[in-house]
């Protein structure tokens, strides 16, 4: 979908991106991460030509991005940013319909699409369609920002720290929603963040940058299990590597048959990290597990967490 070949970008003497090779496949959720000034944002903005690259070649859907006019290119890519950038003088409805209008969709099709997106992002249209951005909370504004980016059903979604300015609770809520939308629409997404937990939670692939260079590119589990160097280890949070690895697995994967466990039941949808916390809080080595609907599912053994994700136990229960 997106292919970077030996791409470089400099601002005067400062090299923002150096000799980057990166490809983003159809339907992948790729998160670019790194400290400030590492080149992650520049990389993202080069994709839709908000920043023009100096050297190398960037291709989108097989064609060099410079073969498109910037406007055409951008209308095929959704774009959402941290400060949202909603047009303050337009209603929610009009904001979301921006790109479809630019593409000259018929009016009723735009209306239907806006409606659908408001539903998708859990903003009831009857309540929100006619509001202006300043009448929304930060989280609602960001939802509208995401809806606007998705409006014309773009081939790829570019997001520049979209949840950076939100409070932790809203942020987690929106991350979950984005994950749901990605699973639902299998849209290609490239996101920039500096929040490693966000990256590990959302990404199919994490791409780590430092000083304009790509340091490591792999699945969250890859990166956690085989960090390329000390910088990666430090960036992941040296002391919490194990905990973060647990965060990638879910209780479902380690479920065993058995109904001897005592204590308060946990849900199969919890991450192992949350399960670990439950073990500690409840002071139990085995905990009962329930399905999402509350029915009994099996049990989870603390000792199984010691071999997480690599080789799950053989005698797994059958999660019904």
């Amino acid at each position: 979908m997106i292919q970077f070949d030996n791409v470089s970008k400099a601002y005067g003497d400062r090299h923002a991106v150096i000799d980057l090779n990166l490809s983003v496949g159809q339907g992948e959720f790729v998160v670019l991460i790194g400290p400030s000034g590492s080149g992650k944002s520049t990389t993202l903005r080069m994709i839709n030509r908000l920043v023009e690259h100096d050297r190398g070649r960037i291709r989108f859907a097989g064609r060099e991005i410079r073969d498109f006019t910037p406007e055409d290119l951008r209308r095929r890519m959704g774009y959402a940013i941290q400060s949202v950038g909603l047009f303050p003088h337009w209603t929610v409805e009009k904001n979301i319909g921006t790109v479809p209008r630019l593409l000259a969709w018929p009016k009723n099709k735009i209306g239907a699409r806006v409606h659908e997106l408001l539903e998708l992002l859990q903003l009831p249209p009857s309540e929100f369609a006619k509001r202006y951005p300043h009448e929304l909370s930060g989280g609602q504004q960001q939802r509208v920002g995401v809806a606007r980016a998705l409006a014309a059903d773009p081939e790829i979604l570019l997001m520049d720290e979209p949840f950076g300015a939100l409070d932790p609770v809203t942020r987690i809520l929106l991350q979950r929603e984005l994950k749901r939308i990605h699973a639902l629409a299998s849209k290609t997404i490239v996101m920039v963040t500096h929040d490693i937990d966000e990256a590990l939670f959302l990404a199919d692939r994490v791409v780590l940058f430092k000083d304009g260079r790509l340091v490591q590119d792999g699945s969250p589990l890859d990166i956690l299990s085989h960090p390329a160097n000390d910088f990666v280890v430090d960036f992941l949070g040296r002391a919490e590597l194990g905990i973060k690895r647990l965060g990638l697995g879910s209780v479902r994967e380690f479920l065993r048959a058995g109904d001897q466990a005592r204590g308060q039941a946990i849900s199969v949808d919890l991450s192992l990290r949350e399960a670990l916390s439950a073990f500690i809080v409840q002071g139990q080595a085995v905990l009962p597990v329930v399905n999402t609907n509350g029915s009994f599912a099996g049990e989870l053994h603390f000792s199984d967490l010691l071999q997480p994700l690599q080789n799950p136990p053989g005698d797994r229960g059958d999660p019904t």
């Binding site: 290119l73 951008r74 774009y79 950038g85 003088h89």
Partner: protein, 253 residues
């Protein structure tokens, strides 16, 4: 709902003021007995060299033409220095504007006479020049006040530079520009009266003649109409500025 009521009120007030202005200009002479009883020592208590309605017309024309030309120039210059092509000149233009506004309007008029001569023309030119400065300042301030994130998002969603200008920058700048035009026009109405000293015939004429001839009724007659005109114009701008920022005060219920 509530906002619409405020807007309608300001529209109605303006219509009432404007009607009062025209009626007073038409029938000022009927009020001669009133002025005579107030100023018993004054031999001539009513200005009769020219009908007031003609003076009002000339005054409004002078203000419209000078402010109108000033607005055209301010928009053109303001837009130019806020585009990439003219960006280098922005600070120069801004300092010129700031400097120009320190001149008192009378001085601008006085300087115009030796250069252009007496009559309507120096008045037009001086007023246009003087009105230009607050407008230009407002245009620049308005067009540069668009939040960076909004412009970034507009570009990123695929709006062309012209579309960004027309449907994002201009509507967002409109309230600020309008405020500048309002100030400029209001000042212009007052300054246009002073232009009577350089030979323009307008509502300033009875004031100037009254002042030089110690004729208070003349001064009052000119001043009342000029004041009423300024208030009416202000009402028009009040209405326009409500219209330009409906979205800011919109409330859902």
């Amino acid at each position: 709902m509530n906002d619409k009521r405020i807007r309608d009120n300001s529209l109605w007030t303006t219509v009432v003021l404007a009607s009062a202005l025209v009626l007073l200009a038409l029938f000022m002479t009927e009020l001669e007995p009133v002025f005579r009883s107030l100023f018993t020592a004054q031999e001539r208590a009513m200005y009769r060299q020219e009908p007031f309605i003609n003076l009002l017309g000339a005054h409004v024309a002078l203000v419209l033409v000078s402010s109108g030309s000033a607005l055209v120039v301010a928009l053109a210059a303001g837009i130019w220095v806020t585009r990439p092509a003219g960006q280098d000149y922005r600070s120069t233009v801004e300092s010129l504007v700031a400097m120009g506004q320190t001149f008192p309007p009378v001085a601008v008029l006085a300087l115009a006479v030796p250069l252009i001569g007496f009559g309507e023309r120096p008045a037009y030119i001086a007023l246009a020049l003087y009105g230009l400065l607050p407008m230009l300042q407002a245009v620049i301030a308005g067009l540069t006040s668009t939040p960076g994130a909004v412009v970034d998002a507009a570009k990123g969603t695929g709006l062309s530079p012209w579309q960004i200008f027309r449907s994002v920058e201009v509507p967002l700048a409109a309230p600020v520009i309008l405020a500048g035009v309002r100030t400029s026009v209001t000042i212009n109405i007052g300054t246009a009266a002073i232009a009577a000293t350089v030979g323009a015939q307008n509502l300033g004429s009875p004031i100037i003649i009254g002042l030089s001839g110690f004729n208070t009724p003349y001064v009052l007659q000119g001043a009342i109409l000029t004041g009423l005109l300024a208030i009416t114009a202000d009402g028009v701008f009040e209405y326009l500025s409500h219209r330009a920022q409906v979205w800011k005060r919109a409330s859902t219920q």
